[in-house]
């Protein structure tokens, strides 16, 4: 939303503590390289993911936002990711209506053992944001 053009793509990643944050740790353990554009914020669960925080992230100038949690059924708190799974399509659709390109907002399921997948997810998000920046 900010009009200032940033040099580097800046992606804010909200990762649930139990699966995706641990999965991103696993990415490190496996030494899988991914772009450094993502800045990770640890949250307990995607259920805590207040849509407001995502809107605020875009408002603050994030080029992209990723929210990642446990696969459905694996939530540490049973249901959190199910709630998130509903907030996401709604929020994405609303953001698009406001002109936030869909390539800027992503969600993924990354389990604690899917280190490689996390690296792939980040690559995809960064590539999508880049595509948006370059091709409009």
């Amino acid at each position: 939303m900010s009009n200032e053009k940033k040099k580097d793509i800046n992606v804010v990643g909200f990762l649930c503590n139990w699966c995706s944050y641990a999965g991103a740790d696993m990415t490190g353990l496996g030494r899988n390289i991914y772009p450094s554009n993502i800045k990770i914020i640890r949250i307990p669960c995607t259920g805590r993911m207040d849509p407001m925080m995502i809107i605020e992230a875009f408002h603050n100038g994030a080029d992209g936002v990723l929210v990642s949690g446990c696969h459905p059924g694996d939530c540490h708190y049973s249901e959190g990711n199910f709630y998130w799974r509903r907030r996401y399509p709604h929020l994405k659709s609303l953001m698009e209506h406001f002109g936030i390109d869909k390539r800027r907002f992503h969600a993924s399921w990354v389990s604690a053992s899917e280190g490689k997948k996390f690296a792939e997810v980040v690559k995809k998000v960064v590539a999508d944001v880049k595509d948006w920046q370059e091709n409009g």
């Binding site: 800046n10 139990w18 740790d25 490190g28 991914y34 800045k39 307990p44 259920g47 605020e56 053992s113």
Partner: protein
């Protein structure tokens, strides 16, 4: 203004090899509120921690940021450190510059350093809004649940019971004993499996602290460490407690239609049965799927012959609710199903058998009384081919991991065969021999040198029947020759995989598991029997393939963990829970509806003088801090301690701005 100390860890070269840690520390000093910033080789070491404690005192710090590894690794460590320094442990934040920076951005050291600076800055931003939280305590139900009655579960149950705590041991099958009960002898000592296992099984049945529930399954789990509410389904055995285990019913049962699971389907079993003669408890069950009475309504022979009137056809499945303080999960393994292997005949060649079938054949209490005969024609064998790595170490089609025990048990089986039938000849096709362990390599050498087992390094490409022989075609990569062995029987060294329903059980407890269904330890090295769910411990092959000594060691380790937990009067729980600001609550009940733990209660309260309202309230002892309420409250009346909106907003703001220096 906060007085923040930033401590940047090199982690040897793990971080410092990629990230310019001095620059990170220098940058920290420019941030508002940061009074001191230092880097050190190993922050988690004693001198490292003392650096923090000294700095807290010297600079009168009130908040700490440790830029090091993942908080999942050392958050607890550093919280204790600052507690020792006299600070509230929740005034510490970790910046993960190892797992999330140096290890994943090693391709560009400059960018990695910049990111490390930013990640540290975000932690500083967060800690600035951290609040001191007071410890919370919960009561502990000092009873343990052990799931799985194999050697791991038995050992864990005995150890916990031995320390004086009550244990409920739940086993799905009619008897405890598990896989170990199926084995003949064990490597590398060749002592009889049953001889060392059965005394432990009996000890379980006799221990006053252990309640044994066989033919039972865990179906529902609520709660958390110290207070798990578990529902266990006791399947109807159709035999009640009057049974004295005389076995007449089994003998007289005319229905032999089922194949014995215990004997790996090499022999039939009755509709009323105990899996094996030494079963504990020695009480038969009726398999209602096959029982003539349950299918046709006629028969009832078992009821007629029972001397004590123990047969009870009307028994129903029963759900039993129990409360536990801790859980040990030891659900064990299945062997890899070789019907996936076309080259080994898709499991359709009768004389190509699994390793467990071989164990049953060579076991003197097995279906052939210990005679190794071919399942197809019951002829004795002369030439036997053993094939290793069936399902294991094959990334493309099967499982990429090594199952660890197959090299050893193949050598054992070849040796046992030679012991029983000195005229037999064994051939072993292998990829590598993995025999790490006390006396293991010697054991394999002995098989080759003293027992004349021929080891051929190579894969088998095809097995087919020619007459009553099996032709095994393969490569000997050492000589470079194609080999063809005419065998009477082929024994496959099936790899190990988790139980088919391992994932469902994991989901009941919200444990994490890998793509195969093996349970994830909290830390592969430092917390090998703990899981991410506190109070739930794991042991044995449900984590990864392992042999009996390792399994027993892990089982005892879980027992030690459970006992340590139970030794406390009260359990310290993380105070990272939700709280409602009732002044801003509209009473819409959204949080009340979404809370997975029913930790929100609605109350009518005068929130301000003269302002009576319907508002939400958090039940502190029930809340687990997931934040589902926070994410759904549009009035912004609920917040989450430790992950508050102020903290997250600060992190977002910092994450989205450029580094504020350009040095």
């Amino acid at each position: 203004m906060a007085r923040i100390g930033v401590f940047v860890c090199h982690c040897g070269t793990n971080i410092a090899g990629v990230v310019d840690v001095t620059r990170v520390a220098k940058y920290a000093e420019t941030l508002p509120g940061v009074r001191i910033s230092v880097d050190y080789k190993y922050m988690c070491s004693d001198p490292g921690q003392n650096t923090i404690i000294d700095a807290v005192k010297k600079y009168n710090l009130d908040r700490i940021v440790v830029a090091a590894c993942s908080p999942r690794m050392h958050e607890g460590t550093f919280r204790k450190t600052i507690e020792r320094a006299g600070l509230n442990p929740y005034l510490m934040e970790m910046a993960n510059i190892r797992e999330h920076v140096s290890w994943v951005h090693s391709d560009d050291k400059e960018l990695a350093t910049q990111k490390a600076m930013k990640v540290m800055e975000m932690a500083v931003a967060k800690v600035r809004r951290s609040e001191a939280l007071s410890k919370m305590f919960a009561s502990i139900e000092k009873r343990a649940l052990v799931i799985g009655g194999g050697i791991a579960g038995i050992q864990a149950a005995l150890d916990i019971a031995g320390a004086g705590y009550k244990v409920v041991l739940v086993e799905k099958e009619p008897s405890i004993g598990g896989r170990m009960a199926q084995l003949d002898k064990t490597f590398p000592t060749l002592d009889c499996s049953a001889c060392i296992l059965t005394p432990k099984m009996v000890a379980v049945s006799q221990d006053p602290n252990i309640t044994l529930m066989t033919y039972a399954e865990v179906v529902e789990v609520c709660g958390y460490v110290g207070q798990f509410d578990v529902k266990i389904k006791q399947k109807a055995k159709s035999v009640n407690s009057k049974c004295i285990g005389c076995g007449v019913c089994v003998t007289k049962c005319p229905n032999r239609k089922s194949l014995s699971e215990f004997n790996e389907k090499l022999a039939p079993r009755k509709a009323i049965y105990t899996p094996f003669p030494q079963a504990v408890p020695n009480v038969p069950v009726i398999d209602r799927e096959t029982c003539t009475f349950f299918k046709t309504g006629k028969c009832k022979i078992c009821e007629k012959v029972c001397p004590t009137g123990a047969i009870e056809y009307t028994q129903q499945d029963e759900i039993i609710k129990e409360k536990f303080g801790a859980v040990v999960v030891a659900t064990g393994f299945n062997i890899y199903d070789h019907s996936n292997y076309g080259e080994y005949g898709y499991g359709e060649i009768k004389d190509v058998i699994s390793s467990l079938q071989f164990e049953r054949l060579i076991n003197s209490s097995g279906p052939t009384d210990g005679h190794v005969v071919r399942p197809s024609d019951h002829k004795e064998v002369k030439n036997v081919v053993f094939i290793q790595c069936v399902g294991s170490r094959d990334e493309s089609k099967h499982r990429p991991y090594c199952s660890r025990v197959c090299c050893m048990y193949t050598a054992k089986q070849a040796m046992l065969l030679k012991d029983h039938y000195p005229e037999t000849q064994s051939y072993v096709f292998y990829i590598d021999i993995r025999s790490a362990g006390k006396n293991y390599e010697e054991f394999v050498q002995k098989a080759q040198n003293d027992y004349g087992v021929v080891y051929l390094r190579g894969r088998v490409s095809k097995i087919y029947e020619r007459g009553d022989k099996l032709i095994v075609k393969g490569a000997d990569t050492l000589s470079g020759a194609q080999v063809e062995v005419e065998a009477d029987m082929v024994v496959l060294a099936n790899g190990l995989e988790p139980k088919a329903n391992a994932k469902e059980l994991a989901q009941l407890f919200h444990m994490s598991y890998d793509q195969y269904g093996f349970y994830n330890e909290l830390h592969p090295k430092l917390a090998p029997v703990e899981t991410a769910i506190s109070g739930v411990f794991v042991a044995g092959c449900c984590i990864s393939p392992k042999d009996i000594p390792d399994t027993v060691a892990q089982a005892s380790a879980t027992a030690a963990k459970v006992c340590a937990l139970f030794s406390k009067e009260k359990l310290e729980v993380e105070p990272l829970i939700a709280n409602v600001n009732q002044l801003t609550c509209s009473g819409c009940e959204t949080c009340y509806n979404v809370c997975p733990y029913s930790a929100i209660e609605m109350e009518d309260k005068e929130v301000r003088r003269g302002d009576m309202r319907h508002v939400a309230k958090v039940l502190e002892s029930v809340c687990k801090g997931c934040g589902a309420c926070v994410g759904s409250c549009y009035c912004k009346a609920v917040d989450l301690k430790g992950f508050s909106d102020r903290q997250v907003m600060n992190q977002i703001e910092t994450a989205t701005t450029e580094l504020s220096t350009n040095d």
